[in-house]
Each structure stands twice: as structure tokens, then as C-alpha cells.
Symmetry: C2
Subunit: 143 residues, 2 copies
DNA sequence: GTTACATGTAATCATCATAGTTACAGCATC
DNA sequence: GATGCTGTAACTATGATGATTACATGTAAC
């Protein structure tokens, strides 16, 4: 199992819109950098738009960020592209046997632990903004 | 996306083996509590056995824990049933365009962040043992 | 040793998410 | 109106999951 690359592609898209501020960031251009299909890019951009992370106008080439770089966390992107639903990173088997003490209790016992683990992961994503990503990228390329 | 319920079922199996110490915990019995197929249970048990978490003998009904309850963390179970591979909770798109500065740097920039987030989640699992789960369960059922 | 029953495992199947792709309607700009 | 972009629907291939059947192998009781 792996969390969909939509998330990574979403970050890629937003980062490129920022870096390419002086140019026109069309879905075609983005597809060239991500190395995939423009239609797939537009699908993900639709999600980013719905989450108010970017601004796009039908018929008009190019996308712009809807917020400042440091106001967009990776968690925002993660939520926007809905790679993982709330409290559902881990799945628990349905209908355990209620006649068994373990079967009866297992869901209620495990769920809070799973939610705790998921939250810990998401906290890290909340602490990183696109500004950090762009900075890291600049540092890496300068070395 | 969701992490396979194999993980939750694995915890269920181990917990029931403990709680049912006085009885015989066969794959048939487990299947009844989990509410699924004995063959599926045996597949997961094979993984738990391979990870040295349980002891089972071919032809002999019943499984026993191979370690003490407090020596088995949920992370051990998680690893045993291989629901998520090391450093691969998040997937990153392949072959971004190296001619694009963002395409060239995106993987190296994002990967450490993803690994960090995954580690945070796994740390929580490392901190919880089956002893905790059994205790929680006892507390819940007493209230 | 044969019967009964358990584990181990291969093979098959339905279902679902992902990623890729084509096609086309709707809209803006020239 | 011609061009080119966005927005989507539709379809496909692929792979993981969970369920299930079937059977080989092994143990123990009789």
C-alpha cells in the first residue's frame, strides 16, 4: 500500500507555479515537467482549485497560487487531493463477532491508537509549507 | 487509500490468542471472531509466524505467542503483515522532467519530508504494545 | 494404519483505486 | 470565427485487497 502520488504531483504543480511566476503555467506545461498527461494534471488542479489553493479560469491559460507560499502547508495539499480521508489512514475489519469479548471490543480499542498515529504523521505535514519546499529546492540546486 | 485491514486483523489475532490462553486458538476459532475465512486467517498467521510473533505447528491446532505481551509492539505487527514498506508510505511520481528545475529537484526535496512524516506515525505504533491493547480492552469492558 | 482434523498454500475471483488516455463541451482571446 | 485552453466524462490496464475453494501435508487419537 502507498499513498497516491497525487499528493507528490500536487506539490510539484504548486511549486512549479511559484517558480514559473514570470511564465504561463498551463496544464500542458505542467504535464511536461511532471511527465504525464495534461488531463491528469487538470484533474489534480481541479482539486487544488476546489480547495482554494490555486486560481484558474476556464479558457485562460495558466494558474496562479491563491495564497502566499508560506500559507500553504503540505497538509493543505494532502487534504486537497484527498489521498487519505479523515481518520481513515488505517482500515479496520468490519463486523467482528460481538459474541466474542475480543471481537466486541477490538474496534473501539484500536481506533484511537490508529487515529493517534495518523495525527502524528499529519502534524509533520502541517509543519512544512510550500515556502520550505521551494527553499529546500533552491538550496539543493545551489550545491 | 487506506492501510490494509491485515494490520487490524493481525492485532485481533494476537490479542485473542492471549485472551484465550486456556483454550485452543485455531484458525477456525479465530475466523469466527474476526468474522472471515479460516484460510485468510492462516495467511496472516503465516506472516506473524515468519516474524516470530507466534508459534504454530502444522497439523496441531492452536497458536501461542512467541514473546511476552509487552515485548510485542504494534509496530512489530505492522511490519510483520507488511501493510506498508519501509520509506514507502508516500509514493512519488516517476520520471519527472530533468530539464525542468522543479522536475529535477522535486523527488530529492520531498522524500525526506515524507520519510519524516512516516516515521512520526510509526513512532506512535512503536510506543504501543499488545499489553496496552489488552489492558485497554479490559478497562473498556469493565465500564 | 486409518480416521479425523489441523495447518500451509496455491489458485481463482470480484471489487476497488490508481494512473493513463481519448474525446469533447465550454469558454476566452485574438 | 479560429485557436487554444480548461473542465470533465468515459474508458482502459494494472495492481492490491479480501474472500473463497481446493488440496497437499502433518499430527494425534483410536
Amino acid at each position: 500500500m502507498s499513498i497516491s502520488s497525487r499528493f507528490a504531483v500536487g506539490i510539484h504543480i504548486l511549486t512549479l507555479i511559484e517558480v514559473n511566476q514570470d511564465g504561463v503555467t498551463s496544464s500542458n506545461f505542467l504535464a511536461g515537467s511532471v511527465n504525464t498527461n495534461p488531463a491528469l494534471i487538470r484533474k489534480i488542479m481541479a482539486m487544488l482549485k476546489k480547495a482554494d489553493l490555486i486560481e484558474v479560469t476556464p479558457g485562460v491559460a495558466g494558474a496562479k497560487l491563491a495564497k502566499n507560499l508560506n500559507e500553504i502547508s503540505l497538509y493543505d495539499v494532502y487534504r486537497a487531493v484527498s489521498v487519505v480521508e479523515e481518520n481513515e489512514l488505517f482500515s479496520i475489519h468490519d463486523n467482528p463477532n460481538p459474541a466474542c469479548p475480543v471481537g466486541q471490543q477490538i474496534q473501539a480499542t484500536i481506533e484511537p491508537i490508529f487515529i493517534h498515529a495518523q495525527s502524528a504523521m499529519e502534524s509533520v505535514l502541517k509543519q512544512v509549507t510550500l515556502a520550505d519546499v521551494v527553499n529546500d529546492m533552491a538550496n539543493n540546486s545551489s550545491t
